[in-house]
Subunit: 204 residues, 2 copies
């Protein structure tokens, strides 16, 4: 997706906020007022640029604006759009743009604290005794602070893993919740990327 300028981003955010607050998009005059711009035509040029870059659709009708990029779409009061993390590139933090496959909606009820969230498709069966199965979607609060027994997303040697964080006699390790797997006592560089706060499963 093409880059947008600071002012264009501001316009997208204002359109979304207007829809969230009032239920309908703003007019060009309303956008101009909010951005301390006197000319509706300046707003029109920004909007036309956003249309050309694929962030907006515009109908020739009053307030005929639609945000089509999910990253900027108006918030729904029942859901939040979070990045779905795919393959993690070496050397990048997990929420680097490179790792984002797409954005997906998740139930807003899972968001209990401020901060950034992401979703991750579970690979493997190491956590089945915690009720986390292969292909489940775990919802993760992006934080490096977790407590004993929290289920965390960790990064070891550029590999993403979901495990229970344990501390015993001052030693921290990652516990699988499947007796077929050993605990992991990380050496070298590793980090907690987030804490699992929810799970979504589709059953066929």
């Amino acid at each position: 997706m093409k880059n947008i300028t600071k002012r264009q981003k501001e316009i997208l955010q204002l359109i979304a906020k207007n829809i969230e607050d009032k239920g309908y998009p703003p007019s060009y005059q309303e956008l101009a007022n909010q951005m301390n711009i006197k000319s509706k035509f300046a707003i029109l040029k920004h909007i036309d640029a956003l249309v050309a870059k694929g962030y907006l659709e515009k109908d020739s009708a009053a307030r005929g604006l639609r945000i089509i990029d999910p990253q900027y779409a108006p918030a729904n009061k029942n859901e939040v759009s979070v990045p779905l993390i795919g393959r993690v590139a070496a050397g990048f933090p997990i929420l680097a743009q490179e790792n984002v496959e797409r954005y997906i909606p998740i139930p807003r009820a899972m968001i209990k604290a401020e901060g950034r969230y992401f979703a991750l498709k579970v690979r493997g069966d190491s956590m089945i005794n915690a009720g986390i199965f292969e292909d489940d979607l775990v919802i993760v609060n992006s934080t490096n602070m977790a407590r004993n027994r929290d289920i965390v997303v960790a990064l070891l040697h550029d590999e993403v893993t979901v495990k229970r964080l344990m501390t015993d006699r001052g030693q921290t390790f990652l516990k699988a919740e499947n007796p077929n797997y050993d605990n992991i006592y990380p050496e070298g560089e590793w980090s907690i990327q987030g804490k699992v706060v929810g799970l979504v499963r589709e059953i066929n």
Copy 2:
């Protein structure tokens, strides 16, 4: 909530559809066109009646309409509103109005077939080996047709239970997925109320 006339209901549905399709509410002229009415003022009178009855909010701005009754709110393309079933009253089918605690939004991705759906909070730990834990929310397609090994919601002696449906040598039984529980060979009246198609878990 006050009753509305047939034409008023039609207006609410058209407004919702316009928002779903185009992302913004219709103008009075657009509503008039869709209802084969020549006069915008007729539309205005219907709208004012809906405002007075508490179904709509109206701003004095172009397309300044907001549906405030959830029953008529525009559908969100990422979520569906389904009834959350609480205590099940004796002698009533599970989706009887009496059993509905409230409506909750669930991810639309779980809806793969036509039909009715409901949500159920899991009680007990009889299904933990299927990754279904206490307090999980299972999403259920309301059907009495299920196949071997499907996870179903059954009604036995007016009790709701979630179990795996098994058929062995022509005999049907309900299998717990926890070795601490026996299989159930239902006698007397029992029925399948639905098939589990999804699960949502919040983790604290």
